[in-house]
């Protein structure tokens, strides 16, 4: 495998945000079916090493392309933009205010051990995240406006982190 090829090329896809999930999954299975270390378990050491590297690379590419967050970040990186540059933390005020309100609701739900409230919060966050993904598609594929996409991605990251925190809150309550 040519390790200089980018993740989209590995999967034979055009470098756009709006990829078809089913095509991605199907090609992932095809690629692994061909080069997974299990296919080389009876081969010699050199081939086994190759298979390990190849399969690792395919997994890495798949994980990046599968996640909307990682995919957007990767697309921006290809444009020379580090969306998560720690020096750039600009965030609209109203977005930050909303975040704080949500975090308070989360803390209250945990304190009260209220699973139903947690589920409501989760549903709302997911809806918000879906909207953000649509927005990213618009900014990356249609317009395209990369600096705006980078800001949208930073906001989306908050939503993903919040979903992880909700997840942990479930474990805490149980």
């Amino acid at each position: 495998m040519d390790f200089s090829r980018d993740y989209f090329e590995v999967f034979g896809l055009l470098p756009v945000f709006g990829i078809d999930a089913e095509t991605l999954n199907q090609r992932y299975r095809d690629l692994q079916a061909e080069g997974h270390p299990d296919r080389y378990a009876h081969a010699d050491a050199a081939e086994q090493r190759r298979a390990l590297q190849w399969s690792t690379r395919v997994n890495e590419a798949y994980q990046t392309l599968k996640s909307p967050f990682e995919r957007a970040r990767y697309l921006l990186e290809r444009q020379g933009i580090n969306a998560l540059d720690p020096n750039n933390t600009r965030m609209p005020m109203d977005f930050l205010m909303r975040q704080m309100a949500w975090r308070e609701s989360l803390a209250e739900a945990v304190a009260a051990g209220d699973i139903a409230a947690l589920a409501r919060l989760e549903a709302m966050t997911r809806a918000e995240a879906d909207k953000a993904i649509q927005g990213l598609g618009e900014l990356l594929d249609v317009r395209p406006d990369y600096p705006a996409a980078a800001e949208a991605l930073r906001q989306y990251r908050f939503l993903e982190k919040f979903l992880v925190d909700i997840d942990n809150a479930y474990s805490e309550i149980e």
Partner: protein, 622 residues
């Protein structure tokens, strides 16, 4: 021009011969070996027709070892030297064992893993497991009539790196060539999935003697993709026995027992648990060494009451696994029950209730793991086309590094698909710092003290720079067995300090060498003859693989000179194989390995192209 190859008498070199491969379920309570015979996966019985080998090993003063039913039958006679459930101690330190009080062994705390003092000397749990594996290997060799190409050995999905490494070491010690470590629930899913031609989401609930696993899998067109796994590597049927044992002590007003009586009552407790699967109540009787007579009746209702918390303890990981997979209980199309402990009616009821469906029990829960492992071994050994199914498994627990303040920085999140690699960059904290300590951990908690320490290593020789200028890149690689290797490299200065670690809990190659030597001495085997035999098997395997590769792609990928070079190396190896010089065989094997590296690379490239054939670079826009 290649020399004519003449095989040694008795050793066939036919490229498509059926390779003997087995699947081994190395269980806490029982172990099994299975193989695929005439396309059918079957468990191999012992000479008395028994499929299960109790995972019990008894050591004698003269160094001899008895494994299985005979050791189990005499358990009460010699509890200190008869080791049961050694799997619970694999890769575990003394502080990891919560139930020391009920165990009759003399533990020795050793770095990384406990050891057991027996009449035959101090034994590592790895050696005990190797003794079990050796018996299964012997059974397979006798039953199949030839040396084994390799084995797939199953481990609980929730086993951490230390426990996996210990299992692999045990196999090495038993002289088995490991094709793959396979997660038990995944093995069960193969046995079920292929039998039932299933598609969709499946849950595998695996409660064994000492471990609990839950795996959520997606089956699509022959691909078994593990979405999430969770569990408890210290929860199993043994815990149910101990609840009965403690109840017995309480009811009979007993406090201090000698080890003989402990073993006796634990055995009685286990029998009672098994009886309760079929009967509403069971009578327990025993005569203690003090002459005291115990006679009690245990009802199913009472048993369910005293073990309710254990049943609930399995549902917590089940919920977590579903959540990690992003699924609800109602998304699950079928629930596969694995492990002897799932015979308990209360377990089946609880699982059925949680998933809202009757669990699948049509395959023997004791055998299903070994049967699946044998099917995978058959494929890995190269006996089938190999494209019939594929397993994509995950790492069960997050991997990370210690950072400032005793916190863990996660590098690889749990449930990442194997194999995988992840790099993380670190920098120096002080001006002129030339060394850095790297501490590798596994677990979900934030504090170092709450995670399992897998190993520490030091990176030295960093060129002195101002704080923050050095760039240390640490790479975690987890292979298809779920085993981790870590390497680190300082890269800003061009000076490379590179180190690969073998985690500290594992046995060093020296230790394995020593144990191997000891076991040879006990068996009075000729070490050299054994080594020679092993080298020959390796060489045969390589020749076989190369021959197959050449047949497939030799003409399209190699020019005449390259082909001649490989043919020459093969001929040299074949010649060396005809002799008895172990070093010559080793040298020729290595030479052929080296000589085919480039060819292997080209074959891999071709595979990539083939995998994408028919897929044009097309626009799949929104």
């Amino acid at each position: 021009m290649a020399l004519l190859q003449i095989s040694e008498p008795g050793l066939s070199t036919a490229p498509h011969e059926h390779r003997l491969a087995v699947g081994i379920d190395l269980g806490t309570t029982n172990s099994l070996v299975a193989t695929v015979r005439n396309g059918l996966s079957v468990v191999l019985n012992d000479e008395h027709g028994r499929p299960l080998l109790p995972s019990v090993v008894r050591y004698f003063k003269d160094g001899s070892v008895v494994v299985g039913c005979d050791a189990l039958a005499k358990l009460g006679d010699d509890p200190h030297n008869t080791i049961v459930s050694a799997k619970r101690f694999m890769g575990r330190g003394l502080k990891d064992l919560p139930d020391l009080a009920t165990l009759p062994y003399h533990f020795v705390d050793a770095p990384g893993m406990v050891q057991l003092k027996t009449i035959a000397g101090v034994k590592s749990p790895v050696e005990v497991s190797a003794d079990i594996l050796a018996v299964l290997k012997q059974r397979a060799v006798q039953s199949l009539g030839g040396e084994l190409t390799g084995a797939v050995i199953t481990v609980p999905a929730y086993f951490d790196d230390a426990q996996r490494q210990a299992t692999k070491d045990a196999a090495k010690l038993a002289g088995l060539h490991i094709l793959r470590l396979l997660n038990e629930p995944t093995a069960a899913a193969i046995a079920y999935g292929l039998d039932n031609a299933a598609e969709g989401i499946y849950a595998v609930y695996d409660l064994g003697g000492g471990t609990f696993d839950i795996s959520i899998l997606k089956l699509t067109q022959g691909v078994f993709e593990v979405l999430a796994t969770n569990g408890d590597s210290a929860l199993g049927g043994d815990d149910f026995d101990r609840r009965i044992f403690c109840w017995l002590l309480e009811q009979a007003g007993l406090s201090v027992l000698d080890d003989h009586d402990k073993a006796l009552l634990l055995t009685k407790a286990k029998e009672a648990k098994e009886m309760l699967t079929e009967h509403p109540e069971v009578r327990l009787t025993a005569v203690l060494s003090t002459g005291e007579f115990i006679d009690m009746t245990l009802s199913e209702a009472k048993f369910n009451e005293m073990t309710a918390s254990l049943v609930n303890k399995t549902l917590v990981p089940t919920r977590k696994a579903l959540r990690d997979a992003g699924l609800q209980a109602s998304d699950v199309k079928g629930v596969v029950m694995v492990g002897g402990s799932t015979r308990m009616p209360r377990i089946q009821a609880a699982v059925g209730e949680y998933f809202g469906q009757t669990p699948l029990t049509n395959l023997d829960p004791d055998k299903v793991v070994a049967l699946g492992a044998a099917m995978q071994a058959n494929v890995l050994a190269g006996n089938k086309g190999g494209d019939e199914w594929l397993l994509l498994d995950v790492v069960p627990l997050s991997l990370g590094l210690e950072t400032m303040g005793g916190l863990v920085e996660k590098v690889i999140p749990r449930n990442s698909t194997l194999p995988l690699a992840r790099a993380q960059e670190f920098t120096t904290y002080k001006d002129g710092q030339t060394a850095m300590s790297i501490h590798v951990l596994q677990g979900e908690r934030e504090l170092v003290s709450d995670c399992r320490s897998l190993g520490r290593f030091e990176l030295r020789g960093i060129p002195p720079m101002v704080a923050g200028a050095a760039r240390i890149r640490v790479v975690f690689q987890v292979d298809a067995d779920g085993l981790l290797s870590v390497s680190a490299r300082e890269q800003s200065s061009g000076v490379e300090a590179h180190i690969a670690v073998k985690p500290s809990y594992g046995l060093s190659d020296d230790e394995i060498g020593r144990m191997l030597k000891e076991s040879y001495e006990h068996a009075q085997q000729d070490v050299q003859a054994r080594q020679l035999a092993e080298l020959k098997v390796d060489a045969e395997r390589l020749l076989d693989a190369t021959r197959t590769a050449l047949e497939e792609n030799g003409s399209e990928l190699l020019d005449a000179a390259e082909r001649a070079a490989i043919d020459g190396l093969m001929a040299s190896l074949a010649t060396a194989l005809g002799g008895l010089d172990a070093r010559a065989i080793k040298r020729a094997t290595e030479a052929l390995n080296q000589g085919t590296t480039e060819f292997a690379g080209r074959r891999m490239d071709l595979s990539v192209k083939r995998a994408l054939t028919g897929h044009k670079l097309e626009d799949i826009g929104v």
